[in-house]
Symmetry: D2
Subunit: 337 residues, 4 copies
């Protein structure tokens, strides 16, 4: 059994990850932490999430000095479900302890410091760790993740976009034009912190972050192709749907497109729907990436859907932890109906 | 034209009232205020509520000293859409200025100070004004409201419950047993302030405030009958539905019940649905009280629905202001399809 | 392994049961059927429910003559997820084959034929089977269910109401007055058949079936106490919340009430929340019954919530099948976070 | 007063139009019809739409022979809220009676018969009327609509798309590449007829009609530019949000784009939001077109939102009727907060 501690376990991603680790046959959920300032300190996860009563009655301990020594002694894997500013500082501390660190934030996903300045508004203080960090997209970088000390778990939007686009890019079918990604995310993607934006009466389908969203450079880096990424907030709780507009190279046939996606045909967490199009409903509370596509001439529309917490964020992190532990990446993701 | 100022115009009730006053033929919306501490200070209402762009581009002024003199000079009616603690203190200030005050909070609805201690947790500092305050339930206290300097506008739950029950009580059809009121309110009823309770992902049908809700003594006072009032938060934005269980006196006939409701037959804002039962959908964004009822032996179920903002809160306040101005109480409530 | 066939597997209960049986370690999902007239005939369950793609790609076979011989040869347990009129006729056919029958409809839940005439509008043609049928409420009739050939699986509303009320009735704490049950169900409870009532734009919190709902006699029979049961349709997909008003006998203490519920303390699928009140969110997609209560004098309010498909309907049926198979009643109900 | 009859008044568009006509100062709602086969025949609109009780208690008469003579004698304007197949046949009948016809279907929107064969699957039987039909997009074809006998009211998606794109096209700012329109519509857009697609539990954000939607040729015809139009069904009741990706010609400045939109600056039903982006919430139950845009290099993203019934469909039809009657096109569209 490997001992796992989660920092930032009160949020949606952290609690989802706690749930997955707690029921995983090979992992033991040793400790869950929140910041010392948090009003959730010393509460049980099941007090914040009554659905977990009897299943996740574990205390949210404050991340104080004592906590660090606790982690040093008791933990193999440290999961950071914290804001990128916090993750950037915490990761090196635990890495120096010799722990394996899985960071769900964007703090170590980009290699180019200029991107951090442009999209995150700060100069990255730990270039060395940045260089060593391995991007955590389980279906694509399995061997590297196995070996990595620091895994920068893929973002939720990129998890969907990259699984949908890398097959086409690997097969060299995409023309030079930027790929347009129109994405809609459920409100869990905005986090549990209370603010007017996530108020029940204020949520309404609307775009945000045009041209400036932090997942733009992340997708471009791992796709090696320019994208125009436009996120929207949708009025549903869980799930991401991306409608992707690809201009194909001249004379690319539907057979070539279908063949390109065969690279994912054996992936147990990926469902190739071909012309049957994905929906939020079909992936809600499911660990799958659903991918569908339709083509007309050199215009290809790819539609991809995931559960932003169970395949994105927490699920993706668990896949990376499985790989680090030498297990099948999909273990503990409950692929039953 | 009468000049109206609204204190607390950034919340759901305040903005709804601002909307109603702004398009009222006889009222002029002179000023809208928020507390000096509010981050919405100096914003336009239409910045907070983009649906009102071009219709309600009025500034939210801070309620500072200058504001009070502004109100003294320019305003006839002052509407308090503030927390009851704030209303309790503000009302006397404006009354001393000789203004007519319409308080949408519970600060002046109860006459018995003991009820304030039990349900509101404070001893009421202005017993004299409490005695002079007139309860603002337009269909039932029209003449008194016309004459009142201080109107304590009825609460949203009581607006529905009292219109549904007073006809039966006036006809002396209710047995001694407490009336059971099972109520469900939309999330606007919980206010616009951001907190986890009103987070899009946390809202879910659930009861709250069992035995202790502040509307219990309010309903009991104006019904003159004991009630067991149980509110629930529902996963919809606007509207209140109350399913009310009345034990009738022995041998009360359906004709007697139907006859009792005839007292409301000519009220333009009340729709007697008889056996056709109300729903949230039928009253959403409507100024009506829908009342339906079915009887079996001495068990009577009355179902009543209103829009908590447009018939409750803001709408009810406008009705009271109409009465004070010598107008039809329903004027400006847009009773068109 | 026991072989299970499901009749009526295209509806919400049937598909949920198919999902549970398919992943159950001791059961094998042999066949799924729909009526010969159904347009879903020969489709896969996963075509109707894309979320089950790769998990439940099983054909919906037409229930024709050949189907009956297939069942005769291949099946141990037959589950009827059909309308009560259909179930009433099908159950005896499979019972004569010597199969164990689990009927999710109301066709065999009531013993009194008069109740069938009053509430179901027909005279029951199979009094003998009606006498032999065992009511399927797993937590309360385990031994009898073990032995029964025909199990009339409890309805969704009664599953919630009876688990909440039988402890009080067994402890003899309920006064003579009828218990008032105010219930709200998600739209899956109304079935998958398309009609205006379940249209996305028409659904809105509203009561229905006052004084006449078929679950009234069912609850009264197994509670042995009169109830006033008022169902509502709520604007959510899954879940039932019941707010129950009990008039206790004189001088019943909170200790007596708490003690009464201890009879359920060891039930793995029941979560006693005491003063912490249940919500729809806490039971959605969960196999639990959440029960909370608060008391004032002799007025007791019990709030109970279940997932209408996963604890009601399909889940309840699986519990009964487990019992029939000599397994723990909760096996295969995935009680992990 | 002009007499108006509505054919197909039981659907969402028809009922919305009936509401608008009933409260319009210059129009009189003479008759509302449904097909002779309809089960809603002889019901009141307010029975189907309880929110209209007391406001729209008008009978849905069967469209039989007698109905046609009724219309001939009593009606000035005939509104067709019927399926395009029905509209195509009915329009000429009423035109021969000398009535002005406003068709809300797609039956007369396209001039090219080939488009009807490709997108509607039939060859248009009335080429002459097709030629005379005037497209009903009020802000753009006012004078022609004034003079037209037959108005083919613009579709809901095109109403949003054309108001958002025609200013750019008129200013000649759009490059040769197809414009990509990613659109999401509320469920009222799918009509009131019950089917699984609009079942409360089945609705979920998902795309449909890729490359084949009937509004594609409609938008292309009136924009005179190729578009890639991808509609989605969203899980909300009313409203359309379109996120539009335009590749501008080289070196087009933001000033040029802003200037282009000035052509709409004085339109009372159009709100130019510039960099503040539209949302569904801001246009729900509002007669406005909200348009926002942001630019990066030669990539322009235009976001446009409307209420699909109150600005699209019924609202658009009323605008056309106003024009035909020589009134301001926005009259009766209640532009108050």
């Amino acid at each position: 059994m490997l001992n796992v501690s989660i920092i930032g376990a009160s949020g949606y991603s952290g609690a989802e990850l706690a749930k997955l680790v707690a029921r995983h046959p090979e992992f033991s959920l040793t400790h869950c932490f929140v910041s010392e300032q948090s009003t959730d300190k010393h509460k049980l996860i099941s007090e914040l999430y009554p659905e977990h009563t009897g299943l996740l009655d574990i205390e949210l301990e404050p991340l104080n000095q004592q906590a660090f020594s606790l982690i040093e002694q008791s933990t193999d894997y440290v999961c950071l479900c914290t804001d990128h500013k916090v993750s950037v500082e915490l990761a090196p501390v635990f890495l120096q302890m010799g722990k394996r660190v899985f960071d769900l934030s964007g703090g170590y996903r980009l290699s180019d410091n200029e991107d951090y300045e442009t999209y995150y508004g700060f100069s990255h203080p730990y270039q060395d760790w940045l260089t060593q960090a391995q991007y955590g997209l389980a279906e694509w970088y399995g061997d590297a993740i196995k070996a990595a000390k620091l895994v920068a778990v893929a973002g939720c939007y990129p998890t969907a976009a990259l699984n949908a686009l890398k097959p086409l890019q690997q097969a060299d079918l995409i023309s030079a034009q930027p790929v347009i990604i129109n994405a809609v995310s459920g409100v869990t993607g905005a986090g549990r912190k209370a603010n007017v934006t996530s108020h029940f009466c204020e949520v309404s389908l609307a775009p945000y972050g045009l041209f400036t969203h932090r997942h733009t450079p992340e997708i471009e880096k791992y796709l090696s192709h320019p994208v125009l990424f436009t996120p929207h907030l949708g009025n549903f709780k869980r799930g991401i749907l991306e409608t992707i507009y690809v201009t194909l190279k001249e004379n690319v046939t539907t057979n070539q497109v279908d063949a390109a996606y065969q690279v994912l045909a054996d992936e147990p967490l990926i469902r190739l729907k071909a012309s049957q199009l994905p929906s939020i409903k079909a992936v809600e509370n499911q660990p799958f990436v659903d991918i569908g596509w339709q083509q007309k001439g050199n215009q290809l529309i790819v539609v991809v859907a995931i559960d932003n917490l169970l395949k994105g964020a927490a699920g993706q992190a668990l896949q990376c932890m499985n790989l680090a532990a030498g297990l099948d990446h999909y273990q503990g993701l409950g692929m039953s109906a």
